[in-house]
């Protein structure tokens, strides 16, 4: 099985969970349709897969971690819906389909995002209350994940990204700092939460967190690279949209070649963090790391 096939298989397990997780919540029909339109629109499910893989590698029970892992995908999906809004990036297309506010309407898209973000915390709590994970572990994971998703993390990164738009003089360190918040924080906590939920020793939690941090930077750099070298069909969104919006990106700052080298260096840092582990999950994480810099979409 190639790493792409293995990732797809694991993503499929996450999707099976996502497909049923909203159905006993008494959500009004149209709102539920809007939430599921984006939540079940495909995607690589990298964040929940990372959570599950770290939990598994460090002795956790993957089945018990699933609701928590799924919550990361709810948070990621809400951020995409809100980022696409006319007041934000004003994107009409997402994963090859109309973005949420084009398919429904702006009010529904805002509420679908709000609903998915809030639902994420229901799922996290349920991983303990129904799933049996210890409450103290789950609460610690809730704390770091919420901080990463919030105004000091992902939400703050999007705010800074909006301020950067139209500026051509953003220096590399500021771009890295913005991406560390906007994209990196959720990758970081996807990995850290897997370790925390497994009840791993602090040294392993540190390794998981730093692995996630490095992979998150590499992922964002490659996203910028693919926006330049990819085509609209493969990307599921218009290629070249960063340049069209006047966004400072890694390729626009340091060129394609050096961007790729920067991503490779990040992945090497990530691999160093997990070099002492063994087994199937470790091998998967190694393959996944390489896939992130070699992928074409």
């Amino acid at each position: 099985m190639t790493i792409k096939e293995e990732l797809a298989q694991r993503a499929s397990a996450v999707e099976n969970f996502l497909e049923q997780c909203l159905h006993d919540r008494h959500i009004p029909n149209r709102l539920l349709a809007a939430m599921e339109y984006s939540l079940l629109a495909g995607g690589k499910r990298l964040r929940p897969v990372l959570t599950l893989s770290f939990a598994g590698m460090l002795g956790g029970d993957e089945a018990k971690v699933m609701p928590f892992a799924a919550s990361l995908e709810c948070i990621h999906t809400y951020s995409l819906i809100h980022d696409d809004l006319p007041a934000m990036d004003d994107d009409d297309l997402r994963r090859g389909r109309p973005s949420n506010h084009k398919q429904f309407d702006e009010a529904t898209a805002i509420l679908a995002g709000d609903g998915l973000l809030t639902e994420a915390f229901v799922l996290m709590a349920e991983s303990s209350l129904k799933g049996g994970l210890p409450a103290d572990r789950v609460l610690r994971a809730v704390s770091v994940l919420a901080a990463a998703a919030g105004a000091g993390g992902m939400v703050g990164g999007q705010a800074v990204d909006m301020e950067f738009t139209g500026r051509t003089d953003v220096p590399l360190d500021e771009l890295l700092a913005m991406n560390a918040m906007k994209t990196g924080a959720l990758f970081t906590e996807a990995c850290e939460c897997g370790a925390v939920l497994a009840g791993a020793p602090e040294a392993d939690v540190d390794n998981a967190r730093e692995f996630g941090r490095s992979v998150g930077v590499a992922f964002q750099i490659m996203d910028d690279v693919l926006d330049v070298v990819g085509d609209t069909k493969t990307l599921g969104k218009p290629a070249g949209s960063d340049e069209a919006m006047g966004k400072t990106t890694y390729p626009s700052l340091v060129g394609l070649e050096q961007s790729k080298e920067l991503a490779d260096a990040c992945i090497q840092e990530a691999l160093d963090r997990i070099s002492t582990y063994n087994g199937r999950e470790k091998e998967f994480l190694v393959g996944l790391s390489r896939y992130i810099v070699d992928r074409v979409c």
Copy 2:
């Protein structure tokens, strides 16, 4: 001290906490300003005050419950910011000042709301991790509060409210059901969470929840009544805005007099739920309940 003065004093204690709670979060300046613009814009702080009062009445430590109580105000504030957006109710005024998206911009207002909602969960987790409340109690409270704030509760209620706008044929039971989600769910859980965090027996948790449910309905009815009989200066928003937007309200359905009677009946149900308790907090809750139907703003 009148009940209004006592409420103001308790609200002030909540505000002292809210004023510092975002300051160590590394939030980008403009986003922080937008979040605090709405979070510190005054208001009665009814939801956190209810949480603290129920916790106190049922033997909990109010100081330890404060971060959790404050999280309810973050959630309430985020909902106001998003509800005011042009795509939603398109309100230019809130508490006598420009609404968030008028003072800042739409993108910042969306992100300020997202940030406050997420920050609420950081605060909840901290009430255990830093504040010392037992993790299992906090996690149970997180679960019911998130469910109440989400797509099956407050967010879903706003979605249904949007669908109702322009319809003049909404029956009373559907209006009650919508308001139970949009406004009632947060009042319900403000009270229930106070009891849960105090470690109260299930019978007390039930009483707290049902008290909150009844008070929430009464509060919404009186909000509709005040929109008709209040003036713009006292309300801090344009009077008569419900009618201008073609919203079905209690007064438009059953008239002012019967609306007031309905609210009184709800308050009586609430008072019945706490009749067997004693002490200062019980007296405060009785006074607060009466104030909710007698207030002028």
